[in-house]
């Protein structure tokens, strides 16, 4: 039979010849085309100015939350710490977790006490409310006071993966973060194929 769909055949050939690594599905939602991650300019837990661009060369995971968060944040941060630990030391050293507080009550000091409860390498950020709001929004997230609890804040729980070139590559829902090996594999993938 004479092929009547050259495009389909081309596609089949292309798929067939892709390297194995490409065939492994991502755990997170891959963002295509990879685009520049929105800038983050806030203050870190030592009170020093922080710019996301200072982490070029590293894989960065960005999460939002607050230090009095009773359940979701500690679980998420523990899952991110577990994925980081699951990587071999050379790769682990190239992974940064950036936790952005959406709570006005958080300070550099409260973050400084909080983050080592998960991993000494994590970075915690605070800043003026408007600056935080604009960062959260630029990542497609949200936060608002939770009217049910006096101290609670309802916030988006997606986690973003940025590659060493500063490109936003994938987004994870919090229910996926417990897949430690698969999460570590996604991080390794952006480290290996910047």
């Amino acid at each position: 039979m004479i092929p009547r769909r050259p495009a389909a055949i081309l596609l089949a050939v292309t798929l067939f010849s892709l390297p194995a690594a490409e065939a492994r599905p991502w755990l997170g939602k891959e963002l295509l085309p990879a685009r520049e991650a929105p800038p983050i300019e806030l203050q870190d837990q030592n009170g020093a100015p922080f710019q996301l661009s200072s982490l070029r060369g590293k894989a960065v995971l960005v999460a939002f939350g607050f230090t009095c968060c009773p359940n979701i944040c500690p679980v998420m941060l523990s899952e991110l710490a577990a994925a980081r630990r699951a990587l071999p030391p050379e790769q682990r050293a190239l992974v940064d977790v950036v936790f952005i507080s959406v709570d006005e009550r958080d300070t550099a000091e409260s973050l400084k006490q909080y983050l080592p409860l998960f991993d000494n390498s994590f970075t915690g950020l605070t800043g003026p409310r408007e600056a935080i709001a604009s960062v959260v929004k630029s990542y497609g997230g949200y936060f608002r006071k939770d009217e049910r609890g006096s101290h609670a804040i309802d916030h988006s729980t997606d986690v973003y993966l940025i590659d060493p070139a500063g490109k936003l590559r994938a987004v994870f829902q919090r229910s996926q973060l417990g897949e430690t090996a698969a999460l570590a594999a996604d991080i390794a993938r952006v480290l290996e194929k910047p």
Partner: protein
């Protein structure tokens, strides 16, 4: 089947009412399931915890102690240091009151007790319900005690 009846049956099949025999209701998650899904990231599947962060269940004086304290801990969580066998652990035990039902808290605690403190008394759902009511306004993640 007549045509209108067939259509009615088809409509019934796509409506979103829970089926009375919903498998979710018939087969609740086991304590072991809940442990793997919610607890093992910190406590680890083998109960060994994380050095410097989360104490092991093996030889835990808390597991050997009062079940009421364990229930309180799971409902409210805890933050801060704890020293075991000369080792210091500093981590956060999340508060599970909004995430797990009374049945689930009893099931997961009983799984932990059966596995790492087999001689201990079991926890009942009624005890968890009573503790939940008593701690309605208690602070989450207390740092002392």
């Amino acid at each position: 089947m007549t045509r209108p009846l067939a259509i009615a049956a088809a409509l019934a099949a796509v409506s979103c009412k829970p089926s009375p025999k919903s498998p979710l209701e018939v087969v609740p998650l086991s304590g072991a399931d809940i442990y793997s899904m919610r607890c093992s990231v910190c406590h680890q599947q083998d109960g060994g915890g994380i050095p410097g962060n989360c104490p092991p269940f093996q030889n835990s004086p808390r597991l050997a102690g009062q079940p009421s304290e364990l229930i309180h801990l799971v409902l409210q969580g805890r933050r801060g240091e704890v020293v075991r066998n000369g080792e210091t652990y500093n981590g956060i035990m999340p508060a599970w009151r909004d995430e797990l039902s009374d049945d689930q808290i009893a099931a997961v605690l009983n799984y932990i007790l059966e596995t790492w403190q087999p001689g201990a008394a079991r926890v009942s759902t009624a005890e968890v319900s009573a503790a939940r009511a008593a701690t309605e306004n208690a602070p989450l993640l207390p740092q002392d005690g």
